[in-house]
Symmetry: C2
Subunit: 164 residues, 2 copies
DNA sequence: AATATATGTCAACATGACTGACGTAAAATC
DNA sequence: GATTTTACGTCAGTCATGTTGACATATATT
């Protein structure tokens, strides 16, 4: 039987390298989200609330359907967390000026405070990782992660990420 | 009022850079998992099953508690998916030889096939991103993601990731 | 012999996703 | 002006996956 693991088999090395990259992403994402989750628990909010606060914070005045498009969840799913956030005064809605069917979303003062608090934890984690890794590594991180985004939507997503 | 967004304010640039890095991670992870989820749906398996198959595949003979430690979920949670995988013949348990309380976990032939199938989708995605980004970028990706892993456990996790 | 550990299991519950159906107001189109 | 489409909300039921807490069983360790 052929020794697939032979050191000189470039295909195996490639596969192993890819498997490691995949696992690395799993562990990094797990620990990356852990800090924010901890803070949110004090408010009885979960990751779903966080995502709403994050994206509304970065796109003040965005509509509900824009948010749905980013999150890729159903409106019923969104509605549960969104109406909760509104009821508890972290997010507010204003009728669209041009199209009055739209509900434009904004963070309240309270919402902005929470966003800052949670974001800070994550930013500090990423800042440390960036500092340790160095500028070239950061550029590489960006390149690779960009390449992981669904090609069909990559441009649109990247415009959203880098625009605000 | 001070213009916090002034182009010459390095603090703002830093914060914006970090926010973009965070969002990038969110979108990349979302799309990275989408492909695997699709395949798993055909088997009526979810992400939880995938994680078990992945880690058992990469650590044949690992014990239940090792797996629990990696996944950071409760044994009750694990048990639901694990017993399902066993019942359906994708994973098997063997009593530990040294410590007979332990249940060592292995993929069956069927399990290995599924693991390959799902892994392949993800590996192709990552391979494309790596190819587009280039070798230096890949090194940077690894450095940064490693830095995102909880410092306390980083060495242990990295040994696990790179060992097998 | 007593205690600790590895695992399994029952029961109840929370979160956040889903589908499907239906309603309402406003915009767009015929 | 009537009709259709769009943006959003909502009710109802389901599913996947996580949680706590309590308890059982076999095996190791002390």
């Amino acid at each position: 039987m052929t020794d697939v693991k032979s050191t000189n088999n470039p295909l195996f090395l490639r596969e192993e390298e890819l498997r490691q990259a995949i696992e690395l992403l799993f562990f990094a994402y797990r620990d990356f989200t852990a800090g924010a989750d901890q803070v949110l628990k004090d408010y009885d909010f979960g990751r779903a609330h966080h995502r709403v606060i994050h994206f509304v914070g970065r796109n003040e005045g965005m509509t509900v359907s824009e948010l749905l498009d980013i999150l890729k969840i159903t409106k019923q799913s969104l509605n549960r967390v969104l109406s909760n956030l509104i009821k508890r005064g972290f997010v507010e809605q204003r009728q669209g000026e041009e199209d009055r069917r739209q509900r434009c979303l904004f963070l309240t003062e309270e919402g902005r405070k929470l966003e800052q608090k949670v974001s800070r934890v994550q930013r500090e984690l990423v800042a440390n990782a960036f500092r340790e890794a160095g500028g070239d590594a950061v550029a590489g991180y960006r390149k690779v992660l960009t390449g992981l985004i669904d090609e069909e939507q990559r441009d649109r997503v990247m415009r959203r990420v880098t625009k605000p």
